[in-house]
């Protein structure tokens, strides 16, 4: 299909972009366009104005800020996947970015854009949840920090307000005893394509036991979400194979699983368990 007619603006600064956004209610931000353009062509979205932030300088860096990494709005998946900082300090995010789409999508699509898009089967959404990231949103009124746990509201719906631009993703650096991993089954089998089910796990081990953990699911429910069942079971355990299996068993506790062409409720609930086991296993190995 062809998109409806729209105005295109490509501001040179963030302030300019925020001003255009404020004065054009219903305008949409475009970073890589990998999801926005298909949505417009399918007329699932028909914004009157598209604001391309791709030419704004200074948004394409991954910075080490001591206790966290800051990932700018124009950092592409390929950059996230291959960054030494991200692979070292936020492994699950690097892995999720590496398993997103194909080469073209990773070269053009941004990690922040994927998070803002909030697809229910996206890979990086689970990673930012498990890593306990913070989203930094700006509007012409100011800057707001939104914890990942509050960011994903529903399918394709985030906590961003219409006049806000997600400018940065802050990911706490995994320190001593902390590690993370992301595993998935893709729609084309293996790890290819959107997640039929994907799990990101972050763990902290102190004195031989799991003192803290976050386990996030994607593809399973209506949005990326934490698995409180798995987290309850693994926190305080010794992180052994048996403890992981017990946590996996509770992966889909209290979660309403959505079926689609790639999986029934039963299958997806089962996959949630399998991939919680694999992600925790990888994080704890």
């Amino acid at each position: 299909m062809y998109p409806r007619e729209f105005d295109y603006v490509a501001p040179g600064t963030l302030d300019e972009a925020l001003a255009v956004l404020a004065s054009n209610p219903g305008a949409k931000i475009m970073s890589g366009g990998m999801s926005l353009i298909p949505m417009m062509k399918l007329r699932l979205l028909s914004p009157a104005t598209v604001i391309d932030i791709g030419r704004i300088p200074g948004l394409d860096a991954i910075e080490d800020r001591g206790d966290h990494l800051a990932i700018g709005a124009l950092v592409r998946h390929a950059q996230t996947a291959s960054s030494d900082l991200v692979t070292t300090y936020a492994a699950a995010l690097a892995q999720a970015a590496a398993l997103t789409g194909d080469v073209q999508v990773r070269n053009r699509g941004t990690t922040v854009g994927a998070v803002a898009h909030a697809d229910l089967a996206a890979d990086t959404t689970a990673a930012v949840l498990a890593l306990g990231a913070t989203m930094v949103a700006r509007s012409s009124a100011g800057t707001r920090e939104i914890p990942a746990s509050e960011f994903f509201v529903d399918t394709l719906t985030s906590a961003l307000a219409d006049d806000e631009i997600l400018v940065e993703l802050r990911v706490p650096k995994s320190g001593e005893g902390e590690s993370s991993a992301y595993t998935k089954l893709g729609r084309r089998g293996g790890e290819s394509d959107y997640a039929v089910a994907g799990v990101a796990a972050w763990v902290r081990k102190t004195n031989g036991s799991v003192s803290d953990a976050r386990v996030a699911l994607t593809g399973v429910g209506s949005k990326a979400m934490l698995s409180s069942g798995a987290m309850d079971a693994i926190i305080g355990s010794d992180g052994s194979e048996a403890a992981i299996a017990a946590a996996a068993d509770r992966a889909a506790d209290g979660i309403s699983v959505l079926e689609d062409l790639y999986g029934s409720e039963e299958y997806k609930a089962h996959l949630a368990k399998v991939y919680v086991k694999r992600a925790l296993g990888a994080a704890l190995s």
Partner: protein, 606 residues
């Protein structure tokens, strides 16, 4: 067993550009067609124009696979609009339109039965099927099951009863999609053959070999379903596959993987293909473009001209949709004339250049159009030999062509370059008396039969016990398409065919809701394999030339799809047979495989 509906997904969607050239009173159309002459014929009829007022050009088309082997109403409408408006009019299909209004493929449901003895002797094969035609019949719609019938008994000598009902449904029309009826037919035989082997506890290779049509029976006057077949040596080909693929080692590797609890399986399939369409006799059965005002027989047309500067123009009325026909055709002519391939230009797919051209389909472009080019080049060569003999004062029987010149056999110092021969050809006063001027020939090649390529494929897969995910560990193909003109092009065809067959086996399915709405109309919902989703293929060949055409070539465009889907399914079923699984319908997405494993065993091994 279901052979599901597929959406042919060419990289380039269909597109049409038409312009009424008032000065020439000609409608000129560029269209992504596999049959430009038929489009021209249909346009002339629909718009009431003489054929001289319609020119259709199908340039380098970005993939066809049978889906562009139709005259679509869009083409007629764009032509009509351009004529009415006297303005260029362009139409480009979107992906969603491609999914709903370009033809689809496959869509069969069938029951296959083998009756045989416990020691592997097949007494009879029966197939009872339903083929989904969609809402309207298009170019080949009803002929697709018929193409399946051609190969309905596969490589086997067995009494065959084959019945298929064609049903209309309120969905998109089905028509030719790479293989067109033959992948479907081969799927059913080769699945049931595996089930039979398992039932009687015999190696799948041995059961097949035991029932082959023996090599000494070729040429076959009448196959079990009534067709004459050119050449074949099925046992030789299968043995080559098993040896090259190291079948015994593969089985040992499978068994030791199983001992470690891994679900590894091996799948085998043989196939016979029928292509190089078509013998003129088929026109009587309705295989023709006569509805578009074209000659009724599917001949090949080749026009070869050596120009005055010793370059060569080869004009063929059909053309490639990515296969590399220009290269193959140029090689045929270069080889025949001894003129470097770089000096040969192939003009194709333009009804303004070429007197006639049937189309690119049924793996016919080498066997039929290539043979026409070969014979045309041969006639040019004979004429050039006369001229060279005159110039060299030698006997024309002693003239040989190589390296851009004519030589006298045995005395290499005595030679004359093609450029000189051509100059003479275009100046009658310098030629021997009675010589027609010019150095060109046009041949219409009418094959006596179709050609019957064959082959056998072997795959090894692993199924993830927890998720049902299928990973292809190895894929070995042993194809036999007769003589090979360009090995790289042949390999490329097999590659693409395998990927599409694997796409059917593992990923693709057109799904409609009960009201006939397509649920898989975007590529998010209709996954096709990419390079990253398939293994490195191990491609090999045996060579059994045909005697149907002077080149000894059969055809390779569709063999990959015809041999592969069931090879994968056979391997997956073998991998999970220990759960009690006997069959899983395609596509074998992880969910389906997992569900089959569960249903058969409650997810414990039987």
């Amino acid at each position: 067993m279901v052979n599901q509906r597929l959406i042919p997904t060419a990289i380039e969607p269909r597109r049409v550009l038409a312009e009424w050239e008032a000065g020439y009173q000609t409608l000129r159309m560029h269209t992504t067609s596999q049959m430009p002459h038929a489009v021209a014929g249909a346009l002339a009829m629909a718009l009431g124009l003489p054929s001289t007022s319609v020119r259709v050009i199908a340039p380098e088309v970005g993939g066809g696979f049978g889906a562009k082997l139709n005259v679509y109403s869009d083409e007629i409408l764009v032509g009509w609009a351009a004529r009415q408006l006297e303005r260029p009019v362009r139409w480009t299909e979107t992906r969603r339109e491609a999914a709903t209004s370009t033809i689809q493929g496959r869509g069969w449901i069938g029951t296959a039965t083998i009756v045989g003895t416990r020691d592997g002797e097949i007494l009879g094969y029966e197939f009872d099927g339903l083929a989904d035609m969609g809402a309207y019949t298009q170019n080949f719609t009803a002929a697709i099951p018929f193409l399946g019938l051609f190969v309905a008994s596969g490589q086997y000598k067995m009494p065959t009863y084959w019945k298929i009902d064609c049903v209309a449904t309120n969905t998109t029309t089905t028509d030719a999609y790479r293989g067109a009826g033959r992948p479907e037919a081969m799927y059913y035989i080769e699945r049931i053959m595996d089930m039979y082997a398992r039932e009687i506890g015999m190696d799948p290779a041995d059961v097949r070999r035991k029932n082959f049509i023996p090599a000494e029976e070729f040429p076959v006057a009448m196959s079990p379903v009534g067709f004459a077949m050119d050449t074949g040596d099925y046992a030789m080909n299968l043995d080559a596959l098993l040896e090259t693929g190291a079948y015994d080692e593969m089985k040992a590797a499978r068994d030791s993987a199983r001992a470690e609890g891994r679900n590894v399986g091996i799948g085998l399939s043989t196939y016979v293909e029928v292509c190089g369409f078509a013998p003129a006799g088929l026109a009587d059965l309705g295989f023709s473009w006569s509805a578009y005002g074209l000659p009724s027989a599917f001949n090949g047309n080749g026009l070869v001209r050596v120009n005055a500067d010793a370059t060569v123009t080869v004009t063929i009325g059909t053309g490639p949709s990515g296969q590399g026909h220009q290269t193959t055709w140029a090689q045929i002519v270069a080889d025949r004339l001894g003129i470097p391939v770089d000096d040969i230009v192939v003009k194709h797919g333009d009804t303004g250049d070429s007197p006639m051209g049937i189309g690119t389909f049924g793996s016919r472009s080498a066997a039929v159009d290539g043979s026409a080019a070969y014979e045309a080049a041969d006639r040019v060569r004979l004429k050039a030999a006369k001229l060279a003999a005159h110039l060299l004062e030698a006997s024309e029987d002693d003239i040989v062509f190589a390296d851009g010149a004519a030589h006298v056999a045995g005395s290499p110092e005595s030679s004359v370059p093609w450029s000189e021969i051509a100059m003479v050809a275009y100046q009658p006063q310098k030629a021997p008396e009675g010589t027609d001027p010019g150095l060109e020939s046009e041949v219409v090649f009418s094959p006596a039969n179709a050609t019957w390529p064959f082959g056998s494929h072997l795959a090894m897969v692993e199924v993830d016990a927890e998720t049902g995910n299928v990973e292809i560990l190895r894929y070995v193909a042993m194809d036999d398409c007769g003589n090979v003109i360009n090995p790289m092009i042949v390999d490329g065809q097999v590659h693409g065919g395998l990927v599409q067959g694997i796409g059917q086996a593992l990923f693709e399915e057109a799904i409609y809701d009960e009201n006939g709405n397509l649920l898989t109309g975007s590529m998010v919902d209709y996954p096709i394999p990419t390079a990253g989703d398939v293994p490195m293929f191990e491609l090999h060949r045996t060579t059994t030339p045909t005697d149907i055409n002077p080149l000894g070539v059969k055809g390779i465009g569709e063999a990959g799809t015809i041999g592969s889907a069931q090879t994968i399914v056979n391997a997956v079923v073998d991998a999970v047979a220990s759960y009690g699984v006997t069959h899983i319908d395609m596509p074998l997405r992880p969910r389906r495989v997992w569900e089959a494993m569960n249903a058969a065993s409650g997810n414990g091994r039987a």
